[in-house]
Point group: C2
Chain length 361, copies 2
């Protein structure tokens, strides 16, 4: 059955619809469209699977489609320009809509294009990976990478609505499913200990794609994120806790080159590093660190940093993270399972020790 | 003497400081800086004149400077990327400030870069042309051109403050001064008939750069724009009247190629075309049309469209304007001097007649 979650952001509030076979529903997308001009943007992997299903429901609109290449390495300004060119070529007006059909990369690129085209047009997200469903579809962060740093160029821009069709996870690769679970586990860790325990009991069901388990995990994850974002839309405080594991993870993605690790895989490793450092600081028990690593491994995720990422390389890249203040590295760490601390500057020696020791033998 | 005008936009409100020799004041800029990292961006014309004066006051900050090429043809995404590259190279954090020192082009480009870098950093405007002082420094419209259309890519982004030093107009070229007066005249036309009459009486003083006259005209123009923007920040209604003459003017700039006409010159021609069309519709007397053309000519502005801009070329380009709805051209016209009408769809034949007849003999 379909459920709806409301993201409460004042006049920028929007609904998230979650349920099986939503793309097959003839009017769910069209009833949210507030313009006659609509462009659906997808990629070469998702397009063949779902583009036809989506566009078949939009016959009464002035419809265009755009199929982009796939992968984090396409998340750059050049790809955004391809969208601008298509919008200009088809004479899209300020009153038009971009629909992002795909994973987090498509959502981030298309959302940023929607934010900038004519200073902002309508935007609807149809996330097709677990990671995009539980993470990038909530919160309005859009953007692209700079060669020197991930997500360095972007905008806060909220969609008109998000449509999460849980049935599309049937076609998701195993590796992509696990990558999404890294972010799911993160929500338990930062603010929902009960959910973390549920995950410990049910992680195998999720890996086996049990439909009810996935629907529950997606809704609980979105609800957690929506609550955090509602309280701090532009990340002036609380919202930063959503970045648990991300500063380490981004460094891995930047250092190894976008593409070899999926975002969720890099985050899984980063969560373990953050847990290890939290333990070094006396904030987290050894037992809790082991529970975290164990759960991520059961989710078929990597938990050790790649050998070529030396401590020096980590520090070099982490020093340009967006959360830093006046050049000092700031991290989200854990004070327990279900209890993230706000970003804090960490003793350099402690950080280096974790970078040198954790996962290195 | 220095005056301050407050642009009222709730939590995004900011002050505009207007007066002579403001750049020489040692603490006006620094007291508005909310970060230690500051990058001043200017161009090859303005830099040699004022960059040293501005940076001399910022010795206690982590300061970088960037000098861009000049001209509307540089107002594109490539130039924005030059700014991103410099910010990344110098490891600018989310808590840093971009200062735009220059005309409207510099303000638009740098403002857009500030809006997008790490999803938004601090931004201060120091406009050095009359046009930028009375127009682009108020209202938060930032952005760049697309090869197929002007200002098609951008963001609404408000500065922390605007510093208008009227003394810098001493070094402005005559042609640039006149271009600024086109926008000044516009404010009289759209909502301030008393100001229009003042301009009719004092236009020669402005051309002669009488300091008090310029200071009055700048403040009155900014106050008019600030009032309109306060009521409609994101141009859902009233704000569109600021575009009087701009749909025609943008078509000239796009059609002839950015650079041959200054923006204000193209707007002056566009205002005359809009006045002519308003008269055709019976909204404006012949006498008022003549008053408008006469005032713009006394301001040393062109008033006739270039020959190579045929009616067909105008229509082709105007059909992709941001104000259009569902492909229909919408224009701001006048119902009298000091009285702009909200955007309206105009009878195609009437529009074509104005495009074919006005200024063609």
């Amino acid at each position: 059955m379909q459920q709806t979650l409301e993201v409460d952001l004042g006049e920028r509030s929007y609904p998230i619809h979650i349920g099986p076979d939503l793309l097959e529903q003839s009017d769910l997308l069209s009833k949210h469209l507030r313009s006659s001009q609509v462009m659906v943007v997808t990629n070469v992997n998702v397009g063949p699977l779902y583009l036809d299903t989506v566009t078949r429901k939009l016959r009464e609109f002035k419809l265009e489609t755009l199929v982009l290449p796939d992968g984090e390495q396409t998340k750059n300004l050049e790809t955004v320009e391809i969208i601008f060119d298509a919008l200009m070529q088809h004479r899209f007006s300020r009153n038009s809509t971009l629909v992002a059909l795909g994973g987090g990369v498509i959502g981030d690129i298309v959302g940023f294009a929607a934010a900038c085209f004519q200073r902002g047009i309508h935007f609807i997200q149809i996330p097709t990976t677990l990671l995009a469903q539980v993470d990038s579809s909530v919160g309005g962060k859009t953007g692209v990478n700079h060669p020197r740093g991930k997500n360095m160029i972007g905008a806060f821009y909220q969609p008109d609505c998000v449509i999460i069709d849980t049935s599309v996870l049937r076609t998701l690769e195993n590796r992509e499913l696990s990558a999404g679970l890294a972010e799911v586990v993160k929500y338990g860790l930062i603010r929902d200990p009960e959910f973390f325990e549920w995950l410990e009991a049910n992680i195998e069901l999720l890996i086996q794609r049990n439909h009810d388990a996935l629907a529950f995990a997606i809704k609980r994850s979105c609800a957690n994120k929506a609550r955090v974002v509602s309280e701090d839309e532009r990340e002036s405080g609380l919202r930063a806790i959503l970045n648990l594991g991300h500063t380490f993870g981004h460094a891995i993605e930047t250092g190894i080159g976008y593409g070899r690790y999926l975002h969720g895989e890099a985050v899984a490793i980063g969560i373990c590093q953050a847990a290890h450092l939290s333990h070094r600081l006396g904030w987290l028990t050894r037992d809790d660190v082991d529970r975290i690593i164990d759960l991520l491994q059961r989710a078929k995720l990597p938990v050790n940093p790649p050998l070529e990422m030396t401590a020096e390389r980590f520090l070099e890249i982490m020093s340009v993270d967006k959360k830093n203040v006046d050049g000092k590295i700031r991290l989200i760490l854990l004070r327990g399972i279900g209890k993230a601390a706000l970003p804090c500057t960490v003793d350099r020696v402690q950080l280096e020790t974790t970078l040198n020791e954790y996962g290195r033998n």
